[in-house]
Amino acid sequence: MAACTTLDPMTKATADEVAERDFASIVATHRAQIFRFLLASTRDVDLAETLTQDCFLKAHRNWSSFRGDSSPMTWLMRIAINLQKDNWRNRRLQFWRHTRTNAVDVEEASDWLPSGERSAEQQMLAREQVANVWRSVDGLSERQRTVFLLRFVEELELKEIADATGLSEGTVKAHLSRALSRVRAELGEK
């Protein structure tokens, strides 16, 4: 009876194994989402892949310190946002260098549309709308862009965006409102 109620203490090796397994499932679950956010932020496939790798590497190193205060996705997204910020800052600081960028232009990015039953006209219209949104996203500040993408591409709630960015919900709301005004203006002009 006593044996049933007493919990066996977990050895360190077992705990490590469990942690590894947990982390592997976290990677499998969230990799696509993190990559998508970074791809939308940079419009550079190679850079997005590199930053995604870095994000999970950093997460793996700090996995033991993750206490579960926020969801793993929010935690990973915060790492991804910081990596993207660092990358952006490094590029700005290295403006004198002729750095090659693989970022695709707005027109090329707008070519991607889900295959569905659409007429040629509908597809053309959709492509134009996507290009307009990309243009307005280009004109946003770094924070506004991050908030906009997290909200409308990743469909996170205000609370989750606030957790991931480290901003208050009010500030997130303000950034989102400005970003939407810009998108509306861009769509209205066309």
């Binding site: 998508r36 709308q129 996507v130 949104v133 509306r184």
Partner: protein, 146 residues
């Protein structure tokens, strides 16, 4: 299009629930298409990231000639080095032989010069007869003639 609208309705409801300005239909549609486009692009790129394995396999077909070429270059470099080393040694040996021959010639010349000098000295000495001995020398020559 329908799928985008369904997704958008969820976001739209959340937008209203969170106290944000509701999206007008045009903006809603544009943002829906934008999201669908980003998802399609990302999904396509995620599946593309498996391609490098195939490329690696193809590369491995070329690895044998590459390996052979590398070995050939290595052997060429080593044999070239050895040949150069051998050539240098030959040159050094020939130079040493030439130098030794030259030294021999110089020594022979010096010896010849010394010999000539000694011969000259001898002849000079033999020709010079001291004045005190001259009468005897004449007597000896007279007796010899008798």
């Amino acid at each position: 299009m329908e799928r985008n609208d369904e997704n958008l309705t969820g976001t739209h409801r959340a937008t209203e629930r969170e106290g944000l300005d509701p999206l007008d239909p045009k903006t809603r549609e544009a943002i829906g298409n934008f999201r669908a486009s980003v998802h399609a692009w990302s999904d396509s790129m995620v599946s593309r990231s498996r391609v490098p394995a195939e490329v690696t396999t193809r590369k491995s077909q070329w690895s044998t000639p590459g390996w052979v070429l590398g070995s050939a270059v290595f052997v060429g470099a080593v044999s070239g080095g050895l040949y150069q080393n051998h050539h240098q040694q030959e040159q050094a040996r020939a130079a040493a032989a030439r130098e030794a021959e030259h030294q021999q010639q110089l020594a022979a010349e010096r010896a010849r010069e010394e010999e000539d000098l000694l011969a000259k000295v001898d002849s000079d000495l033999s020709r010079e007869v001291p004045s005190a001995m001259e009468p005897l020398a004449s007597l000896m020559s007279d007796e010899g003639s008798k």
